[in-house]
């Protein structure tokens, strides 16, 4: 009885899980199929919600896929929002246990708590989107300044105009166009490249694409709500081509500059659907940092993740990451590897557990691996 009540709660009140780029294995090669933003991340379209309910997530009731699709909207089975409006609210929390090899440190982290509003015309040629969310005070903030840091921020707000299916203009505050967008925002290829969940930028994104390719030019001014000295202005280019069925290759280029530093990055990536439910994502990049007051750093980053469906709603993950801050000096090369399980018991609910082993090579003193356990809950209305 309790299980049925809990199941009913999630079925009624909780919504689509965050999009994983590994869903290419189902034949959905373009991020635009499920996201309002053409390169992924952010609020999910009605189609994306229905897909989550009927293909990706498990079933814990006897409902048919048709019924699940009909109740996949923000209001669930209660009703449908008017066509010009889309709403989404989501929370992602993580129980992190780090230092398993010695004295474990345990803590709960509110990773994401946000709400989104999308106003659009029925054909989605015009839309305005805003996402406001909670962001914890960075750990690096001095204690005296912590109370002055706002924890409510805008994650994205932009207007979009798509004169045709193949062309779109997006003006405002959004994720920088570069590489694979994924929920693994603490991965080196996102966190060490300053493309993290709170690193959005103001600018103009021009997207063009068909079913077999995507391309984007993103002209950026930095985050205008930040101090001008830390804003990064410049541009990025993104391209991805389908070279075979469920197999896309892409490349990204970024050049930004500011008064504190300049940055240039280049990456190639691949998204390969091995079969339905099984995919491999990989991204390999070079990053060149030119700090204003210290020597240039030239490093690299690598990310590979296999996602394998065990049964509907349950996936086995294996993640391999590598990061080198600078090739020129004898510094560390970091490797982080581990298995994981992703479980989508019903649409609107995502449970994920990852084990990570972090190993540093290239240092004078060699330490034991650092073991961490990450347990996430993601609820998305």
């Amino acid at each position: 009885m309790v299980i049925r009540v809990v199941a009913l709660f999630f079925l009624v009140f909780v919504s689509a899980a965050h999009g994983y780029p590994g869903y290419i294995s189902y034949g959905y090669t373009s991020c635009r199929a499920c996201h309002f933003h053409p390169l992924g991340n952010g609020p999910i379209t009605d189609y994306g919600r229905a897909l989550s309910a009927t293909v990706l997530s498990g079933k814990i009731t006897d409902s048919t896929d048709d019924d699940l699709a009909k109740s996949s909207g923000f209001l669930g089975p209660i009703g449908r929002l008017p066509g010009f409006l889309a709403l989404q609210a989501s929370y992602r929390g993580m129980y992190l246990v780090s230092g398993l090899e010695s004295t474990a440190i345990k803590r709960w982290i509110h990773m994401q708590a946000e709400g989104s509003v999308v106003v659009k015309d029925p054909k989605e040629r015009f839309l305005a989107l805003a996402t406001v969310g909670y962001a914890p005070v960075p750990a690096s903030t001095a204690p005296a300044l912590r109370s002055s840091v706002s924890t409510i921020i805008s994650r994205r707000h932009y207007v979009a105009y798509r004169p045709s299916e193949t062309l779109g203009f997006y003006l405002g505050f959004m994720d920088q166009a570069f590489g694979i967008q994924s929920p693994d925002h603490n991965a080196y290829y996102r966190s060490r490249t300053f493309l993290n969940m709170n690193d959005q930028t103001h600018g103009l994104l021009i997207h063009a694409g068909t079913k077999s390719w995507d391309g984007a030019v993103h002209l950026v001014l930095g985050n205008l709500s930040q101090d001008p000295t830390v804003r990064q202005k410049g541009a990025s280019l993104y391209g991805e081509v389908e070279v075979a069925e469920r197999w896309r290759l892409g490349a990204s280029l970024l050049a930004t500059t500011g008064s504190v530093r300049s940055r240039q990055m280049f990456a190639v990536h691949a998204r390969v659907g091995m079969s339905e439910g099984t995919s491999v994502l990989a991204e390999l990049g070079l990053a060149r940092e030119l700090p204003a007051s210290s020597p240039t750093l030239l490093g690299n980053f690598f990310f590979l993740q296999t996602m394998n469906r065990v049964t509907r709603g349950l996936f086995w993950l294996a993640t391999f990451e590598q990061y080198t801050e600078d090739f020129n000096k004898a510094g560390a090369r970091y490797y982080r590897v581990g298995p994981g399980l992703l479980y989508l018991p019903v649409q609107r609910l995502e449970l994920r557990v990852d084990f990570q082993a972090t190993r540093a090579l290239g240092l004078s003193v060699v330490s034991e691996d650092i073991y961490s356990l990450l347990a996430q809950v993601h609820v998305c209305l």
Binding site: S275, T278, S279, N308, R309, E368
Partner: protein, 193 residues
Amino acid sequence: MFVSRLLPALLILATAAWAKDSREAFRAGVGILSWQDSLSLTGPTNEVNALVSSTLGISLGGGYHRELNPIYHLDIELGLVLAQCDAGLPGPLPNQLLYSARNVSAYGGLGSLGLHVAIADAWTLGPSLLVLYKSTAWPQPGAGYTLNAEGPVGLGLVVDARAVRGEWFVDTKVGFFRSVSRFFWSLGLGYSG
């Protein structure tokens, strides 16, 4: 203990597999792999200091794949390993190193025996038993110190996940080598003929 129990079970299954009329394939692959070893440094007064070494290498080899039935698959792999190792131990004084060696060359061989379950058409998952031989020429420490390494052969147990697309496959192994406190991983790309 767990490894020593699993080995006979896998060998029995491997023997049984030959009696079946089942599909088979030969495979070739290349990959990167990494693990840690335990070392010890004995000092002038016979004090023993524990330290670890980290190894990163590439493997090149081949394997034999046999489908015992539509669900259970047997995989035997053999490979040549070329690697580089780091080891270093700080001393009691600031900026003092009792021992430090970086990018020390190592070579060896890796064998694995795995019983995997076909979860879907394109991927298998299951345990594999590893046997790894490694030879490392560690530089000698300073006068009065002796470096002691573990034996050249070690056993490991990993979870092996293999995603297949046509003749190509991506193979990931994560698990333990020598002890449950030593993590082993490998990432490979292979071709099945």
